[in-house]
Symmetry: D2
Subunit: 286 residues, 4 copies
């Protein structure tokens, strides 16, 4: 049977790493979930079980921990780039290595008005993400965040949409806007090629820009707010040629209190998880 | 067959409520998951399907939304008490009503150094909890929190434990201490009977006291830290006769880098979810 | 401050065990999640961090694996009893040991009409549960199941319930009945004291009895079906003096197709996860 | 700022549908999670909040339920195709509609040796999946499954892989092979264009072929077993030009019982969730 193996990718997923860096005045903590995936010619393993070219996924795991010991790990981006390079440099038959990281948002505890030396609490469910893909001739780096909870109780409307026989949604001037922001942006060569690039500062700047728009925007559609947030993100970072955003519309449905003899003054809502609207866009510099 | 119905409890779970209160200068937001459970004599429904005494669980749901419209909902405790009373007062055959709430931790967004009027972001996975149980003659109220992530990178040891042939754990002087705190305390009658009691301030005070101990404690055992946290909680609130705490020990396991020819200077750890130690205690005033 | 430690319980949770038993003609597989919890006098650990009496939770984990090597592990009940005894027998200061197990439902794959020698697939999310508690003078054993999905498309009604101003639910003659059964029963001394007791056969008999009632019952209330299921369970096993059942009512809500110009002939439903009714009872022999 | 909107996709996700079809002798049940996503020119909504071309996601939800009433819904594939066509046909400015479905695996309960008329239990966590994408000129259809649990206790080895200083994994001749199969295949035009095509029979045939290989394969690498499963799938269905498979390697790690003075005869394992190997391939007909 003439069948071809048109993609062969394998790796180790969910390598869970905590690194503590012990400075005299404070400890730094980073917690990452790391996925390693290799592309290349591993055909003999797939077709006849010959593993001579198969870097064991257990070896990938060890490599993550081993390189973490040598790397400062002050940000996930430079670590992902280093890991991707390691696998391509070591293995001639590997055509590409992709490192994906998700960073758990530990925040330093503040007690008595001062950041504590070595104690942390969790952030929201938001994760800071990163993906570095190194081929034999190229490097791509994207970074972003997933699951940032945002909610505003007003300044959101939805009107003027088309109606057909399946349309029952009333037009609304003032609704709750609740979402979990996912954003992923690319870094251009001026950033990726800069060994001193400050990935943390850029991440915070882009994140703040998006939040800043969310809170102030007079939203006529989730689409419009999302687009404005993407524009703002690109405006604060010239090294970003492209950003993708996705926002669920986590509906808060006004309860009909009429049958109970009460009025709902846009105050009482059912919190829902599903179904949810899902709005996405990709913005690129021309 | 001589079989007796020795417990009959039913209700509605996961009634999801969002309430917005629109003040001139700011909007307040509360999001609760509410469970209603009734005890009483519903025997005919169980044995012959006669539902004359069965308050429909759909009616319970409507009641949650209806009472939420009338109640200020500045805290979950007073709302849970009001709901419990409603069901007992309305239904003579109901012997007890238990209202359990879990509050989603929305936090007001700060932009340009100022709390925003109507925009919020999520807290950590921590939930603020509450349970009110009203019988025909008594009221019990417990409150607490679940899933507060706490981690310290030092000041935690574990030594001197007994060894048998199943013991392989080395003694350790300096380990990571990571946990998700669950705490639940009772309020005595001086609080429950006080219509003006400030549930929010007390919750924050108890929570802060426990965090304050966690960050500063030189821990010789998770047990010891947990006990000290419980003591601190009771010290800041005389109205609390009892507190129960539970803390998983979410192990961070040092990676053996020896086979890789590297040394692990107490820096590189595997983050694990299971198995986990689980340490609990109940403290009561004598 | 006069504070007393009125409960001190600790242990290891989520010890994940797979055991394979290799018979000539077939392999047997059991996968358990095991929780160990000890009660006793560990006061010095809580109050001053003296761990001389604290069996390390890591030792508990090792013990689970060590005893699993020696035990036939053809069922979880006898293993839980053995583990509980081990900890009480070994440690004089331990007043009680509780072992809780949850068994993953692997089912043997049937190929070409025959059960395969060594291949398995997952069951539903249902877990078989067990809890053994051994004190210095008593043994208690409960067993059960959680999360058994059951759904019937007819033979379920709900009528005749009281109405007040919060009641909007219509009476219904023919609704979908969907649930996730939780059941937990006690075994009396005649079973617990019988070293040859067939825990697997009893578990299957009780489970089948409950399913048999669910499918055939003309339900006038979830309460009524639940009670009949509990009666049936006790009828097939004299060694069970008590059973607790809990069933969520996972509502399937008929879609109002009227506004779309269509009729819903009791065919089209919204599947919902929350809110859900939650019906429970405990049945005991007199 | 010269920024371009290079992708604009939005829709409704997690529309949860249960349909019951009441035949005289038996009821049929289908439960789907449906996602609708539209591509097209919605630029004015993104840039200025003009929603004239924005089909409301609530309308999409209603359409799912409305079309479900008219459609026989004996399989998800034909329903997904019908839904995709509906949105493209109705809306000239929509360039593509993608319908993604996940089907909950209800299985008819067998009592007394006979399939029950109207009662069902859950399958494993496995979901049957489908995605139909309709543009103005093309139709694509893929189908598959996710999360099928498969485990074999023997006939799996892993040897001959390269070693470097990060390699600590021993070679192994006989290990547990546990996975959760994800597979997604395309249907060619001969199937998609056939209004009578039997999607259910094909799905079962492909699924059975993959399971049949899994259980019998003497595996020298997860890669090899995965490839053989893909080949078998394509061998039983000529209408499938392409299949993608992904299998986590859910490691069962032999416990070192040596320190406990016991031998582990390849019987006692730690069940792990992470990290996991992740092996994938795409196979295509030449």
């Amino acid at each position: 049977m003439p069948i071809r193996l048109t993609s062969q990718v394998y790796g180790k997923s969910s390598v869970r790493l905590t690194k503590v860096t012990r400075h005299a005045d404070r400890h730094e903590l980073i917690e990452l979930n790391v996925d390693v995936a290799l592309e290349g010619d591993f055909t003999e393993s797939y077709t006849v079980g010959d593993n001579r070219r198969v870097v064991a996924t257990d070896t990938m795991k060890n490599t993550v921990y081993g390189l973490a010991a040598d790397h400062p790990l002050t940000d996930p981006e430079s670590f992902a780039l280093a890991l991707a390079s390691h696998f391509v440099d070591r293995n001639e038959h590997v055509s590409a290595a992709t490192i994906t990281t998700a960073m758990t948002p530990w925040r330093r505890i503040v007690t008595a008005g001062r950041p504590h030396r070595h104690s942390f609490t969790g952030g929201s469910g938001e994760l800071r993400t990163c993906r570095a893909r190194r081929t034999r001739s190229t490097v791509e780096l994207t970074a972003g965040l997933t699951g940032l909870p945002l909610l505003k109780t007003t300044d959101s409307a939805f009107r003027g949409f088309p109606r057909d026989e399946y349309t029952t949604l009333p037009e609304v001037d003032d609704r709750i806007f609740a979402t979990l922001l996912d954003a992923e942006w690319s870094y251009g060569p001026s950033a990726v090629g800069d060994a001193q690039y400050d990935w943390n500062a850029t991440h915070d700047r882009i994140r703040d820009a998006m939040i800043g728009v969310f809170v102030e925007h007079k939203s006529l559609a989730v689409q419009q707010t999302l687009y404005a947030m993407g524009e703002a993100a690109m405006a604060v970072c010239n090294e970003v040629p492209k950003i993708a955003l996705a926002m669920p519309n986590q509906h808060r449905i006004p309860v009909n209190l009429g049958p109970l003899g009460k009025q709902n003054k846009n105050e009482i809502f059912v919190t829902t998880s599903e179904p949810f609207g899902r709005i996405t866009a990709v913005l690129e510099r021309e």
